[in-house]
């Protein structure tokens, strides 16, 4: 073997060895980049003997239980189960009796009383009440005023004070006071009220100030609540003089009464700032509460994380960064929620008081009370009565959240004042619709109903009415579908019209879908609401003598309207349309839906002035109704629309054969 060959061989060998040793000393870290997982390099040890560890829970070792039986509850430790006797509420219905203190009634008391009288909670005698309302007098500070009779240690009593009251911890009574300190608040027992300004309206109230969903680009980011009331806004986004390095920029201070115009409203945590909270809510300015020391209003039921941000006051800069970087989607939903909550629960004294009572009513109902969704999504709990149904899918408002859709059949409810030929024809027309599930005749005529009814493909039933206008909207058990087609014996419709209107209703189950509409307007000269009867470019009300709406509105009409309003309708049947429209508009905050009506041309003022029964009377009366009802509601809920929903090919110059609802176009 040649020498060079052997040499090179040894050389190669030694190079190999050297390489080996080298690699052994300095491992090729390139091969797999060592990824020291941050924070995981240590972790919790995997104990080799983990399998032999004993469980913390040794049932054998548990002592024979000897629980103490119920202790007599002490005032400071009252809970709902221990300090409220629900058995006093007959049929689980909350009935309240108000003990007004002797002497002159304070203004605040009078307003609370006003809001209760005539409501469904009101009890005339203490015996039928299961909750006694005690309004502590505000006159002499510190002293609580004389305790009412039937006090009974405060059991089943609610001490209600719209203002932070010095004397509220009384025996076993529940306390509802404005912005209670979180140290003494008993969750699930006390009720936290909002801090209302002196001049808060009794009914209705101003709607939220927000006019658009998303904030205006370039809108002020922050307004800061001032110590002495009012708001301070900044051109730059840094509100704290001492925290900011850069110049805080020009400041603008707004006097106490004006509402903040900003995306976020910073509210300090001390109790005196609680009054700013409602202002921010009304203005649609998202409240940013810095470590509040007080309980947020109605915190038992309202999910405030959907409308406000509760942050730590010690991290102002972090809060600021978070606000600046908040996603548009979050801002959008927070803003809308502030407005919904304001209008649903806070805009009037009446709403605040009723919300308080509904919270207690919900506790009495327990498992069948309102689910959280009802409290926290439009139209809000005051307008969503859980007695209607236990399934959210039955209500007109929650289809989206529930992923459900309205049913595909309706019940026709025909109000009959006078029997006659038109009725039989109407029955045939309605029964001709394939969506019709049943026909109900609400017999309100003096003469007895006929024994025989025409043969129809759908079941037909007769309900004996009491010849009262409010009968029309009673939640009859016979109504088996959620959709109702409300008709008058004089309504003249075609099957095609009915079918199309029902198809439209399925898209808008919370609204009224009507054929005949009227508009309201503000009569500047006389300072009253006016009512237009002639054809107009706009409308805000649908006649209930020919309209689709949800069965739920019958329940709402009968159970939520005050007695005074229902009596008004019985005395003046012409007002029933106006009242129903007010009610639905209060719930939806939207106009009804109008669908085409073929007979419009023949009788320009249709269905009017024929026979008795609840139908629009001559104009002055209807106008009276509007003004009367508007005063009762405390505001004008009606909204006008300029849109009519027509079939897609309505009156288009295309072949009639293509059209689904062709008879709609026949003159």
């Amino acid at each position: 073997m040649p020498l060079w060959r052997r040499k090179s061989f040894w050389l190669a060998l030694s190079v190999f060895w050297l390489l080996l040793i080298f690699l052994g000393l300095f491992p090729l870290r390139l091969a797999v980049p060592p990824r020291p997982l941050p924070g995981r390099s240590q972790g919790w040890p995997r104990w080799l003997d983990a399998a032999f560890l004993r469980s913390f829970f040794q049932p054998e070792a548990l002592p024979e239980d000897g629980p103490q039986l119920r202790q007599a509850p002490r005032g400071s430790s009252c809970t709902w189960g221990a300090c409220f006797d629900t058995s006093k509420c007959k049929g689980n219905l909350l009935k309240i009796f108000v003990h007004s203190s002797a002497g002159p009634t304070a203004e605040a008391h009078r307003r609370i009383l006003d809001s209760l009288e005539g409501s469904r909670y009101y009890a005339l005698s203490p015996a039928e009440a299961c909750l006694h309302l005690f309004l502590p007098s505000q006159d002499h500070r510190g002293a609580c005023g004389p305790l009412p009779p039937y006090w009974n240690g405060g059991r089943n009593h609610l001490v209600l004070s719209l203002y932070p009251a010095p004397c509220t911890r009384l025996g076993q009574a529940m306390v509802a006071e404005a912005s209670p300190s979180s140290d003494i608040f008993r969750p699930g027992f006390d009720v936290a009220l909002p801090y209302l300004p002196e001049a808060h309206p009794l009914r209705g109230g101003v709607p939220g100030q927000l006019r658009q969903h998303s904030p205006q680009p370039g809108a002020t980011l922050l307004a800061v609540a001032e110590e002495k009331g009012g708001w301070r806004t900044h051109a730059s986004a840094c509100p704290w003089d001492r925290h900011c390095e850069q110049d805080p920029g020009p400041q603008q201070t707004h006097p106490g009464e004006t509402l903040p115009n900003a995306t976020f409203c910073l509210i300090p945590g001390h109790r005196s700032a609680a009054s700013c909270f409602l202002q921010a809510l009304q203005a649609g300015c998202i409240p940013v509460l810095l470590s509040p020391r007080w309980e947020l209003p109605f915190s038992e039921v309202i999910d405030w994380t959907k409308a406000a941000i509760i942050a730590d006051e010690r991290l102002p800069l972090q809060v600021l960064t978070a606000l600046r970087e908040m996603l548009p989607s979050r801002i959008l939903s927070l803003r809308q929620q502030t407005q919904f909550l304001w209008t649903a629960y806070f805009s009037s004294v009446e709403k605040v008081v009723h919300t308080t009572l509904e919270i207690i009513q919900d506790r009495i109902w327990g498992a069948s009370g309102r689910p959280s969704l009802m409290w926290n999504s439009p139209p809000g709990a005051l307008l969503a009565l859980p007695t209607f149904s236990t399934s959210l899918k039955d209500f007109p408002f929650y289809h989206l959240q529930q992923g459900s859709s309205p049913e595909s059949s309706f019940s026709a409810l025909i109000w009959v004042g006078v029997s006659g030929e038109p009725l039989l024809k109407l029955i045939q027309v309605v029964a001709g619709s394939r969506h019709c599930a049943q026909i109900l005749i609400l017999w309100s005529s003096e003469e007895p109903p006929p024994d025989r009814w025409p043969e129809t493909t759908v079941p037909l039933a007769v309900i004996e009415g009491h010849r009262k206008a409010s009968d029309r909207f009673f939640p009859y058990d016979n109504i088996s579908t959620n959709a109702i087609l409300s008709l008058d014996v004089h309504s003249t419709l075609s099957t095609s019209e009915v079918d199309f209107a029902f198809a439209v209703w399925q898209s808008f189950p919370e609204r009224m879908v009507g054929f005949l509409t009227r508009n309201h307007f503000w009569n500047e000269a006389q300072g009253v609401w006016g009512y237009s009867t002639e054809l107009a470019n706009e409308f805000s009300m649908a006649f209930t003598t020919a309209a689709f709406y949800h069965r739920y509105y019958h329940t709402l009409f009968t159970h939520s309207l005050t007695k005074a309003l229902r009596t008004l309708v019985d005395d003046t049947p012409a007002c029933v349309d106006v009242l129903m429209n007010f009610l639905v508009a209060t719930v939806t905050r939207l106009p009804p839906i109008k669908v085409p009506y073929g007979r419009q041309r023949q009788d320009a003022a249709p269905l009017v002035a024929e026979g008795p029964g609840p139908r629009p009377e001559p104009q002055p009366l209807a106008q009276d109704c509007i003004n009367h009802v508007a005063t009762r509601f405390g505001h004008m809920p009606l909204v006008s629309s300029r849109v009519r929903m027509d079939p897609v090919l309505f009156k288009d110059p295309v072949s009639v054969q293509r059209k689904k609802y062709r008879s709609l176009e026949k003159p």
Binding site: V32, F56, F57, T305, A503, E538, R644, V648
Partner: protein, 719 residues
């Protein structure tokens, strides 16, 4: 070529020519070298890949080897818990600091064995569950091993069960932790608090300001918004598999009580119920006559009948969870697992995770006083609601009860949400079972609101180079009364837009935005220049729309601000032959889409289109230069759950002079492409969000027999 051949001949020749002795020597040497190389190579790669797997870095040793810490008898004891503690008073939030991920950092103290002066251990070192709990935290995103960066500290001292603890010494052990500092930011987990005879409802170990995640709090001991109420973990959760039973499926008993240790007085009440309602109520007790070797935990008896526990729970609609000596009971977990609705009878008990979980949806709480009325209370609950509750109960168990890990992570999430409230998890995310989350829609524009007319709309014209047509569109659109701004999106990078002086003079501000790339999605970009909520997207060749039509379209949008409001409508159909979706542009009685050649919509949808479009739809649209309108229709319908609104009879945009049905004049390939888009988008969305309706929006008096000049929008009606 030549060289290699030569080599091939020479190479193998090298070894055969050597002497046999040498050959053997060389072969051995070579193999050793080769083996060594292979071994090195393997070592280079192998160890690291182990290290990068999850548990490579953690140490493996025995629990018996943990360091022993001697606690002097005189070492300090923390103060008793401060009942007035709140996050903003007792929690040091500065330790958490700003964090882009909005996640708290949790540190776990290393495990020690504590002994007193005499060398007697303070407690057993660690229980199986506490070991699992710490392991779950260490494996989560919250964990940090850097004590100086931690925001929350979890001692490894096991206080899950108070029974075996030596209270004073455990407290001393806590106090000597390196960052104890009066317990600030320390989190203790305890499931079985109190001890005989009076069974406190919170851990008796003095712990100063430390947060307590406790099972069995009462309203007296629970510091709302500070402590966390957790479940008492049931070991049966891991031992027994109970398959989910469909809600509403028949169950033999209406009401069942399965607990063994019940106060005699309560047992009397229950047995009275059983006597009254016979078959539908079952009250079980422990078995007295079990043969040896049978686990008594897993058996229950009624008289002489033996039942398997927890399987028997699946036979009942409602299951009693009665307080014992302690308020928190592990049976709650078993009951939820069985999909049985718990009837909680424990006055003042704070239900697990009650800060975030809505127990009303999954349980019935009956005051102890009302125990005898329980049956009638339950009977009043309608069947539908019971089914809902059963589903919810099972879901709570799956999400928050079934393992120690689930409990630990839920606890940390609650604390995390308090510290980073702007990133907190919503009620729906905590409470809605997956089936509901999947089907429910939360409309981003849910507030019923009709924006004021005064705000007006911004018209966005996407253009490439058709300047003449563009100018005509600008002139036409500027006649619409409610127009407040015009934005031209210049999508041509090779050509400059015309000089300013050449543009039509209009009464509203006109802005030109130049884009970086010629993309269709530029039309849906949320430009800062858009100041109004309403946006009119309009093509640069849409000149046939009248001012009345556009103004009316805007009015309709005001009444339906959460919808797409457009002119020509289109439809999607299910093709039964091809088994897929089909695009339909015939003049049908239904619509499910509108063309965005001219359409009004809320500007928020621009944000959604640009930043939240699911999957690769945006890129697909830009690549195909088509279907951006279908994508927008899908997006809006999916997020709002609502149908589009077609306004006015307008049926088509192009060629106003041709009266033929426009399907005939359309290119067949175009239709195929559009159908493909629908199928593609439906598969990306995982569902078909489009909604079909039969109505369109017309002015109130449209085609009514009424003087035209008195109508608000007379100039509407051409196709």
């Amino acid at each position: 070529m030549c060289a290699s051949v030569k080599y091939n001949i020479r190479g193998p020749a090298l070894i055969p020519r050597m002497k046999t002795k040498h050959r053997f020597y060389y072969v051995t040497l070579f193999s050793i070298v080769l083996l060594g190389l292979i071994a090195t190579g393997v070592f280079q790669f192998w160890p690291h890949s182990i290290e990068s797997s999850s548990d490579g870095g953690v140490e493996k040793r025995s629990i018996r080897e943990v360091p022993v810490v001697r606690l002097p008898a005189a070492s300090p004891i923390p103060e008793r818990g401060d009942l007035s503690c709140r996050m903003h008073t007792c929690f040091d939030v500065y330790r958490c600091g700003f964090n882009p991920k909005n996640k708290i950092k949790v540190y776990i103290y290393p495990l020690n064995k504590y002994v007193d002066d005499a060398g007697v251990p303070v407690s057993s070192t660690i229980s199986r569950e506490y070991n699992q709990l710490l392991m779950a935290i260490a494996d989560s995103d919250y964990y940090t091993d850097d004590i100086s960066r931690a925001c929350l500290f979890v001692p490894s001292i096991d206080v899950l069960n108070q029974n075996p603890l030596r209270i004073k010494e455990t407290a001393q052990a806590l106090a000597q932790l390196s960052r104890w500092d009066r317990g600030t930011n320390h989190l203790l987990f305890n499931m079985l608090p109190g001890g005989p005879p009076d069974y406190n409802t919170a851990l008796d170990v003095p712990r100063d300001r430390a947060l307590l995640a406790g099972g069995g709090f009462s309203t007296w001991t629970y510091r709302q918004g500070y402590d966390v109420s957790i479940p008492v973990f049931s070991p049966l959760s891991t031992e027994v598999v109970l398959p989910e039973k469909a809600p509403g499926s028949p169950r033999r008993y209406f009401l069942l009580s399965s607990q063994m240790a019940i106060h005699p007085e309560y047992r009397e009440d229950l047995e009275a119920l059983q006597a009254k309602h016979k078959e539908s109520v079952l009250v079980l007790d422990k078995c007295t006559n079990l043969s040896e070797g049978v686990l008594s935990v897993r058996k229950r008896c009624h008289q002489h009948q033996v039942f398997d526990y927890p399987q028997v729970l699946q036979e009942a609609t409602f299951c009693v969870v009665l307080r014992g000596a302690r308020l928190g009971q592990a049976v709650l977990s078993d009951v939820l697992q069985a999909g049985c609705v718990p009837v909680v009878i424990a006055d003042s008990y704070i239900l697990p995770f009650s800060e975030v979980l809505d127990w009303k949806r999954a349980s019935v709480v009956v005051p102890e006083e009302k125990m005898s009325d329980m049956y009638s209370i339950l009977q009043n609950i309608p069947q539908r609601q019971i089914e809902e509750m059963q589903r919810q109960a099972r879901w709570f168990w799956e999400a928050y009860f079934q393992s120690i890990k689930a409990i630990a992570l839920a606890t940390l999430q609650i604390i995390n949400d308090r510290i980073y409230p702007y990133a907190a998890i919503s009620y729906e995310e905590w409470n809605d079972p997956p089936s509901v989350k999947w089907t429910s829609v939360s409309n981003p524009l849910f507030l019923p609101l009709i924006p004021p007319q005064s705000q007006g709309f911004t018209a966005i014209v996407l253009t490439y180079d058709r300047v003449e047509s563009l100018f005509r569109v600008i002139t036409e659109v500027s006649k619409v009364p409610s127009l407040s701004k015009l934005l031209v999106v210049w999508n041509n990078q090779n050509k400059n837009p015309p000089e300013e002086s050449l543009w039509p003079k209009i009464r509203v501000p006109l802005k030109v935005v130049r884009t970086a790339e010629n993309k269709l999605s530029n039309r849906f970009f949320p430009y800062d220049e858009i100041e109004t909520e309403a946006v009119l997207a309009i093509d640069d060749d849409i000149i046939m729309l009248t001012s009345d039509e556009l103004q009316f379209g805007y009015e309709v949008w005001r009444e339906f601000p959460d919808r797409l409001v457009g002119y020509p409508g289109r439809l999607h159909l299910w093709d039964h032959e091809m088994n897929k979706w089909k695009y339909e542009s015939e003049w049908t009685n239904e619509v499910s889409m509108v063309l965005t050649g001219a359409a009004f919509y809320h500007k928020y949808f621009n944000y959604l289109y640009t930043y939240k479009m699911p999957g690769d739809i945006k890129n697909w649209v830009d690549a195909h230069m088509n279907c951006e309108d279908i994508a927008m229709n899908f997006l809006v319908a999916n997020v709002t759950g609502k149908a589009v609104i077609k306004v006015t009879p307008r049926k088509k945009f192009k060629c106003p002079e041709c009266t033929a049905i426009d399907g005939l004049s359309l290119d067949q390939t175009h239709m195929v492409e559009r159908s493909e888009c629908i199928n593609k988008f439906a598969s990306v969305f995982g569902t078909m969000p489009l909604k079909v309706v039969e109505h369109r929006a017309d002015p109130v008096l449209y085609k009514d027999d009424f003087p035209e000049k008195l109508k608000s929008f007379p100039n509407i009606g051409s196709l």
